[in-house]
């Protein structure tokens, strides 16, 4: 036998570990993006009311995400009480579901925005220091 049982065991478990690691990396990436996307959606809604498709189109053109990702985020914001929805008739199409920021949503956006900008500027300064 060229490969002892222990050796096989070891190489096998190694493989598993690598798989877990990449999966965790992906999961982290998704979590990270989700938080930022939430903030982006809030930012759009702070300017005016948008309907779901509009938001999805706008963000998927700017950020590399699947088109379907935005709807769960909108749902989460609604269940958190940050946005409300209303239907509005549109010419030549089904009624559109518009999303609108609530008072809580506005407050939450203001504080999250400040937090994020502070955080981002800190990260940026650290990364730039690292380079030189």
């Amino acid at each position: 036998m060229s490969l002892s049982e222990e050796e096989f065991e070891e190489s096998h478990s190694c493989e598993v570990r690598i798989n877990i690691k990449t999966e965790m990396g992906d999961a982290m990436n998704i979590q990270y993006k989700k938080g930022v996307l939430e903030l982006c959606v809030l930012s759009l809604l702070a300017k005016r009311d948008w309907y779901g498709y509009e938001i999805s189109e706008f963000l998927s053109h700017k950020i590399d995400i699947a088109d379907g990702t935005v709807y769960p985020i909108l749902r989460k914001l609604k269940s958190d009480g940050l946005v409300t929805t209303y239907l509005m008739e549109a010419s030549g199409g089904p009624p559109r579901k518009y999303y609108s920021l609530t008072a809580t949503g506005r407050e939450s956006y203001a504080s999250d925005r400040t937090d994020y900008l502070n955080f981002a500027s800190t990260v940026q300064s650290i990364l730039e220091e690292q380079e030189t």
Partner: protein, 241 residues
């Protein structure tokens, strides 16, 4: 995947994750298809760009409070937990009384030991023996009391931890939270554990040594292996006074 295939799969995935308002979500994605089709994309393209239905359903499932707390399901959960709860309370109750009994039981040898040592024969219940033997047996009885007391403490810590673990488990089930489950065995701090173990070890040692020493003392004193006969315990006629 065509539009209909995509929506069907999404519906299946949403139901699999028991998401509330699956219809509402489907409508949203259906509209997405309509808008995109109007922009000139093919159904296949749109489906690919949307992402896998399973992934989307998983994102909905990740939203707290979005999972169906179906009336029926919840009812059976409560019923089930109540039935288990009745048995649990019976078990914990029995265990608690056992612990109370252990505490009381630890007092008896301790009190007897003290009586032996200070030569106080309350209600004339102590068997006759020379003071040397009484002193050693007194220490032995106190050590026994300490051992029982420690066992009671350990059992109590065990009971407490079991109740806490059970409550945590229930909380997770009822509110859909995923707090880490607690271990069932008692959780002492390392210092407390060391102290308890030290006291127990010393007590057991003292108990063993004094038991042998007391037996030896009385055996030598009475010149008999069955000294209780010679001393007139348990109603035997005493041969030594």
């Amino acid at each position: 995947m065509t539009k209909q295939e995509y929506l069907n799969e999404l519906k299946t995935e949403l139901n699999k994750n028991s998401i509330t308002d699956a219809e509402d979500i489907i409508t949203e994605y259906e509209q997405h298809f309509l808008f995109k089709l109007a922009d000139g994309y093919s159904e296949e393209e749109i489906a690919v760009k949307l992402g896998a239905p399973a992934h989307i359903a998983a994102q909905y499932a990740g939203i707290p409070g979005e999972k169906k707390a179906k009336g029926g399901k919840k009812f059976f959960l409560v019923l089930w937990l109540t039935i288990i709860g009745i048995f649990e309370v019976m078990l914990y109750g029995a265990f608690l009384w056992f612990i109370v009994a252990l505490f009381c039981a630890s007092l008896v040898p301790t009190a007897l030991g003290v009586e032996f040592i200070i030569r106080m024969n309350l209600m004339n219940i102590l068997p006759p023996m020379p003071y040397g033997g009484a002193l050693v047996f007194g220490i032995m009885l106190i050590a026994l009391g300490v051992i029982l007391f420690l066992v009671a403490i350990y059992c109590f810590a065990y009971l407490r931890q079991m109740v806490r673990a059970s409550l945590r488990w229930r909380k997770n089930l009822m509110s859909g939270e995923a707090l880490p489950l607690l271990p069932m065995s008692p959780q002492f701090s390392p210092k407390t554990r060391r102290n308890l173990r030290g006291i127990l070890l010393v007590s057991v040692l003292i108990f063993g040594i004094t038991f042998i020493a007391g037996y030896a003392i009385l055996g030598i004193y009475t010149h008999s292996f069955e000294f209780w006969h010679a001393l007139g315990w348990f109603g035997y006629p005493a041969t030594i006074h």
